[in-house]
Every structure is written in C-alpha cells, then in structure tokens.
Amino acid sequence: MKITVVADEDTVLGLKLAGVNETYIVNSPIEAESKIRELSTHPDIGLIIITEQMGAKIRKLIPDIIRKGIPIILEIPDKTGAVKGAEDPIRELVKKAVGVDIKIGKKQVK
C-alpha cells in the first residue's frame, strides 16, 4: 500500500524528499476534502497524511472516512508548529471512552 500526503507546499516538499510516493498540494479545505474523499476510495492507499491546520477545518466533514479505518488519516504539524490543543481529538476520545476528562500522560484525573 501507498502513503499519500495531502498538504501545503512545504510539507509536501519535505515528505517528498523523504520518499513519499504520492503527494498532492492543496490550498483550501474544500480542495483537501474532495482530494481525501477521492483517495479514500482507492484500495491501494493505506495512509493519508494531512496537516493539523487543515485537519482542524475538515475533521468534521470526513467522519465517515476517519471511522472507516483504512486509509488511516493522520494529522501532523506543519511548518508553523503544532496547533494548540492538537491533542483534542484524542482527548475527546478519552472522554467518550472512559467518561471522565483525563489529562493524558500524567495520570491525573481532573
């Protein structure tokens, strides 16, 4: 299976240097969403890398693809650094799964 990147120019350039096969430069959330939708129907694609900045905008639009499991969609920070509260999706999962809001890592119950 293949790894693909759907991201801004610099992220794409960097990951291309690292040897990622398929890369797509997108400039708007709408463009990203339709690209991801298109890619997710492709049986040969195992992982789609997007940026957190983009992810924050389109996460709500593609829950069906995220639920499907394959391809896995992973958000990484772009050149401006990590989005504050980037752990939020995970934290939400914790809340949903356990029922309490738990700070990850330090084993402290809020």
Partner: protein
C-alpha cells in the same frame, strides 16, 4: 420508575424456569462484558501514553526538519529542491495488516522495501542543509508511520470501549432488572393461583361434607 415486565409473558412454571435460565445467562454475560471493558480500557491507556510520547517526538522531528528545509530553500533555492524532490524515486511501500485484539480490529503498519541508499549517500550539488532536511524528514516519517498505527488503534479501541460500555449498562440497568421483575411477577401469580386452588378445594370439601 418501576421496571416493566417483559410483554406477553404467560405466568406458567415453564416460563419461570426459562426466565431463570435467561437471568443466569444475562448475569454471566454482564460479568464477561465488564471484564472485557476493563481490559480494553487498560489497553487504551497504555496506548494513549505512547501516542502522547510519539506526538512529542514527531513535533520535535518536524520542527528540525522544517527549519532545515527553510535553510535548504535559502541556499539551494526552491526550484532546485522541487526538482530534486521529484527525482527521488518512491522507495516507501507500506504494508497494512489488520490485527484482531479482543474483537477490535487494529491496524498494523509495516514499511517494506525501503531503499537503503535513501539515507546513506549525500546529494551531489546540494548543500548539507538539504541533506539534513531530508534526513530529518525521513526520521519524522518513521515516527509518522508509528503514530498512524497507534492512533488508528486508539480510535478503534475507543469505539469498542464505548460499545461494550453501552452493552454493559444495558444489561445491568435494563435487561437484568426486567427479567427479575418478570420472574417476580410470575412467582406472585403462581402463588395467587395456588391460594385460589386451595380455597376452592376447601370450599368443595365443605360442600361435600354438608351433604
């Protein structure tokens, strides 16, 4: 709220017996599901910590990588970099396996056929910063793949936990009480029938002796 009984139940001994069996089954199922839920939650927390660690590492890797990419762009120029990026042969191939852990389908990602040369030789005609950027991006990519695997598993786990939590709660607060209420209802009914029979017998006996 009083627990309602199962609709359409006949107050017979047969029904009572089968309900008692059902209750036992429900309780066994409840215990098992509870154990499953607890095991899943434990696994979940183990993975969550890995996610956090990997996220931090990825953050560091990428910061370094972007910084070096910036320098590389300044020294070699974006155009040259783009043409280099396009000339790099795709060397990564991903293998996605699905593992079944306690009924949860977890993805497992393996990199296959990564060309050795990709990390070793330096590029002719490019600055060392380009080399560095590439190296950092490669190491970031490793982290990305690991993270993707674990995050995928975590998401699946969370869903599964939610599902078994709902099942456990449904058994505990709806199914079992309802069966219990129905058992109670049938028992009362049977007792009442018994008393009725008893009085009837007494009545008949008296009538017979009066003759």
């Amino acid at each position: 709220m009083p627990t309602s009984i199962i609709a359409g139940v006949k107050a017979t001994r047969m029904e009572l017996l089968s309900l008692k069996k059902k209750k036992q089954l429900a309780q066994k199922g409840y215990e098992l599901l509870k154990e499953k839920r607890d095991a899943l939650i434990m696994e979940f927390f183990r993975l969550i910590e890995d996610v956090k660690e990997l996220r931090e590492r990825l953050q560091e890797d990428l910061e370094r990588a972007y910084l070096n990419l910036k320098y590389a762009k300044m020294i070699d120029g974006p155009l040259k970099l783009h043409s280099l990026a396009s000339s790099i042969k795709p060397m990564l191939n991903l293998e996605v396996e699905i593992h079944n852990v306690m009924g949860v389908r977890m993805p497992k990602l393996n990199i296959i056929s990564r060309g050795e040369e990709i990390t070793q030789h330096s590029l002719i005609g490019f600055s060392s910063k380009t080399d560095d950027a590439r190296r950092y991006f490669i190491s970031a990519l490793d982290t990305i793949i690991k993270l993707a695997e674990i995050e995928g598993s975590v998401k699946r786990l969370a869903e599964e936990i939610e599902k078994s939590k709902r099942r456990v709660n449904a058994l505990k607060s709806i199914v079992i009480p309802r069966i219990e209420a129905t058992i109670n209802y049938i028992e009362l009914h049977l007792e009442e029938a018994e008393r009725e029979d008893f009085t009837r017998l007494k009545f008949i006996k008296r009538k017979l002796s009066e003759r």
